[in-house]
Symmetry: D2
Subunit: 355 residues, 4 copies
């Protein structure tokens, strides 16, 4: 829809109409009391709103259609995605299915012993996916960057531990891909490729990741609106990969003064995204709060909001973790989180109201 | 704590130390590798950090103590607030007690018939407090401002309906105070005085409200950090009124593009505030999302996060509501919300982990 | 404009059309490839968009017209405001005229001697308006609240000093009104009534202030979008008072980590507001940054962005100021700021491009 | 500095002290009235604050030192960066020198003819650096992604046009690197490598870019605080490349309702960053506002705030630009911008006060 300035001339209106028609759409002109509005009838993607918005006499050019059609409910009626939520099947795990899925593990893989000890702990606690970081994104160049930073060989060794731990404890495994050159290597070893929040906008990376045709765990950037998040997920769907798990992990805090959490966990994003797309939505309360004493509360809240699963950082001795020690919980605490979350998931599932 | 610039002189350091001592505190000087840090030992409130921060050679002056001692756990050990969460007793309702409390009603009182019909509906649905707006804060001067805007007589009549409905349906009643001149009038008729988000910073208003010595329902401003929110609640505690119900209702959205919710509901604020103060914390999912189709999800999430209750806008026919029609649910939907929330509250209460 | 859901039925569309017609507007229906859009033709203020947005089948109801017609360029063509920027004349000062106007003074009036000494300093530096706080809004109840907090008598005495200083040094005077009960008292003594950022949304206060029919210095709340800011200014215009000076003073910072400024000064707001309304726009770099070492830079930037003046906190000895010491500059520094700003103003005025 | 909880035990304090000492630092314990604070004396980078913050009894672990020492004023006294602002010399251009530098060109290179026509225009207008996008980051997979997306050959051809245009019109040339696989190719053809806002956090990419040992034009992410921005710039400095031009280009808007600009241009970031580092700081008013009618105002404001240059999008016929048409200005308008900015730069340079 094109909103004209109140003093737009007839000639200016005609030019806009002509531009719209030249792309094969119809233009419906409404002369209002104060201004003229021109509606576009047809396929909006054929028109450049950038272009229309700078024509003389134009006040605003508003897109009405959404920029993420491939993953949306509204445009997927007859396609494979259909009117069913997408369930990603992986071994015997159904992500987006009738049971919540718990992804857990250490922030960073530090050694084989550490990884296996944690893997055993999270398996016993009830987690279905083991996650450990090999290539760590860090805010400071002076901080520990994961074993992946040590060298190619160390990276591959750490990845093979992950694979082995997954087999031993019967869990799917997942790790983060931080740069394009790591994609193929990582895809050889893990079941789910994670794209971290900081890389959400990296279209070259996510395109490359999507082409591996493995499920992608895709985290919202802390500065991204929901529309942007979904528009970038569309890049992966455009590669033919719709096995995308969307993950809310907190947005930048607003306001001055002492910050009590690292980010603001935007839990309303869960039901909002579920109303827009058929993709499964998870939450990461560990990064979302940065505080292990809030994990139980925010895990329960996330499941209550409709998340189909959680990603949680776990360490048998959080005090000794090399990275993000403040936000890791122990396997025993994870067990309590999973028990509470499953009970809440049952309440939600039996609630009649569509929410 | 005072952090000196790396090139601060001995003389500058001495001046800071002298200032601190002049207020009766001790100053502990640590000469580090790169800079000097001066710790304050004693009662920080006796010192002006504004003043210290501008002394020559000072890089930063950081307060370590919190600015809301009267309502904090940490400073209330021996006082009445003690180490127990505060429970506000009102008739047979215990706000902050073992059961969640539901405050419901129309955004705006439109007529006696409308109010009574809604009151009956929310009572049956399980709400314990009836809330209806008489003085409405509105973004546009051209919008309906509530019956309070019609005249003093109409305002008083609407308030008396509230009182009468509360008696008839055995609920406590609550309404919003928007300006200082309304305080005494409103206090005559209602059990709980609400201060809306837009007035959170209005220290003259909140002081005046607190002096009524009735419970105050106090909403966080959408631009306020948690520390600011609690610092302003301290104004009321300083009047000797600690019957303050803190309410999270969403903060300003961040990010460009289409906004899917009116505000970002910051649910982590619930456990954070509960760890800082002994006051009860509630959530308003109606204003927090602005979308009635998200009320159920976000109500469940709020209770799961630890809220002791909810404020929800209800109308028997939301389509006909004069104000905020998009966010009101029906009494039947409220019933479902309350049933789900109570079940979740039970799960949370029985969870062992401290969260 | 009403955007229907893609699966909206004919009946639902007809209901929306009927509602629009019932308010005396015309409804233009455009059936697009994916959805139907209904344009409203006529006076949008007669329609409740809240109401339309909840009708069955409606996806979104978008207002096209602005909510601040009384102060906008677009709707003021034939009225008094006309197509000229509004110039507020006060003694020999023209706010919004061909010369920038500088408002300066102490954050808080502390004593007659302090006020007169600063008044003399800022007059010599080139300021035209003297501003001093009597009723201080503060974040902490435990901080100094201004002489107005001591008692009615002290408040009146401080106000009379302001008036006297204004006469002696031939400056207009201004102070902040923080609560409704202060309005009439303050209006007796000062030329311009200031409404602070925290009170921007307080519609009872601003209505009461506007009725004094004196110029109002109106600051944007740190959580307010520009549209909201202007919508609330409209409350004052609706009282027949268009002598409103709009002031940008910083919005809440975004992002985690150390905050280098108290707020984010949104200087693009200056040209944006000037394109929307005919009211004069000023900037407050003191509160906007909270750092006196940034005042010169941001003052110059504000004038370069098109501000018609500045409000700056000044103290002859900032180290001794009781309030906001970090952001006050000395009269000598003010002089340099004014010299630089005037030179920049000349450059801007002579720039041909409309900007 | 480590702040202990008020109920921390002697044993807990001792453990923290022991940990600090084990890293070779000294621990200064201050027992305050309410709590104990432990100061660290020595090299903070040897200690993990993540780790300290989770030790029992610890309330907060605050770093006092900055995480971007290599590029900071404070830690560069004796090194090459010294106490002089860094000037990046490129042909006869001095970025960060006594004259402002203007980088201009089309958002996207569309054809050789288009590029050369714009190059000629911006050169005549006074620009010293030609910038054109070959690999375009876009929010939608369905939008034009630049010639770089067509194929390797087309990318190389477009880059060679840039090089050729730079030679013909005697300008340095710059283009954006969006992915790791593009780095070496681009470095062959251009003088300055641009890293866009969306890639600010991409540590693999920026490390790879820095290794080319060419000047880097590095834009702040729209969700990044200044501290984070500088911490990531430190990744490049750690590669031995200190020819980094920092660029402010707007942060995510805050607040609900209609957004009048695409981002909030944070001009106070300019003087703030100049006080923290010796690197040159520029501003991009084109992306920062997204509105060509604001370019002149915000360009002047940026220079007045202390920026050493600007990056501006230019097109001879903005209406025909394929990308970002709303924010491009014409070469004639650029000329006016440059004239006004130079005049303002002179005013700033002659202002005595240190700002």
């Amino acid at each position: 829809m094109i909103i004209m300035k109140s003093d737009a001339t007839e000639e200016q209106i005609n030019r806009v109409v002509a531009e719209i028609k030249s792309r094969g759409l119809r233009a419906d002109v409404s002369h209002g009391a104060f201004r003229t509005v021109i509606g576009l009838v047809g396929d909006e993607t054929k028109v450049s709103f950038d272009h229309l918005s700078v024509l003389p006499g134009v006040k605003e050019a508003l897109r009405v259609e959404i920029p993420y059609k491939l993953i949306s409910w509204e445009y997927s009626k007859t396609s494979e995605g259909g009117h069913e939520p997408r369930i990603i099947k992986l071994k015997d795990i159904n992500i987006g299915g009738s049971e919540p899925v718990f992804i857990a593990g250490p922030c960073a893989v530090e050694s084989k012993a550490q990884l296996f000890k944690i893997a055993e702990g999270v398996k016993k606690a009830g987690a279905q996916v083991l996650r450990g970081g090999v290539f760590k994104p860090r805010s400071s160049v002076h901080a520990f960057q994961g074993l992946g930073a040590v060298g190619r060989e160390e990276a591959e060794e750490a990845l093979s531990w992950l694979q082995e731990a997954g087999r031993k404890y019967e869990m799917a495994v997942m790790t983060e891909v931080r740069g394009e050159t790591q994609v193929e290597l990582i895809a050889k070893y893990v079941d789910i490729l994670q794209v971290g929040a900081r890389n959400m906008y990296d279209q070259d990376l996510i395109t490359s990741v999507a082409r591996q045709q493995k499920p992608v765990f895709y985290k919202r950037h802390f500065g991204a609106g929901i529309e942007e998040f979904l528009s970038f997920a569309e890049y992966m769907a455009a590669e033919g990969n719709k096995d995308i798990i969307l993950c809310e992990r907190g947005i930048v805090p607003v306001g001055k003064g002492k910050s009590y959490t690292r980010y603001t966990l935007d839990l309303a994003a869960v039901p909002v995204i579920k109303k827009e797309t058929y993709l499964p939505v998870m939450v990461d309360p560990s990064h979302g709060t940065g505080r292990r004493d809030l994990i139980l509360s925010m895990s329960c809240a996330a499941i209550a909001a409709g998340a189909c699963g959680l990603m949680i950082e776990v360490h048998y001795d959080p005090v000794e973790a090399l990275v993000d020690a403040q936000q890791a919980i122990t396997p025993d605490e994870l067990r309590e989180v999973i028990i509470a979350c499953k009970a809440i998931h049952k309440v939600i599932a039996s609630s009649k109201h569509k929410g």
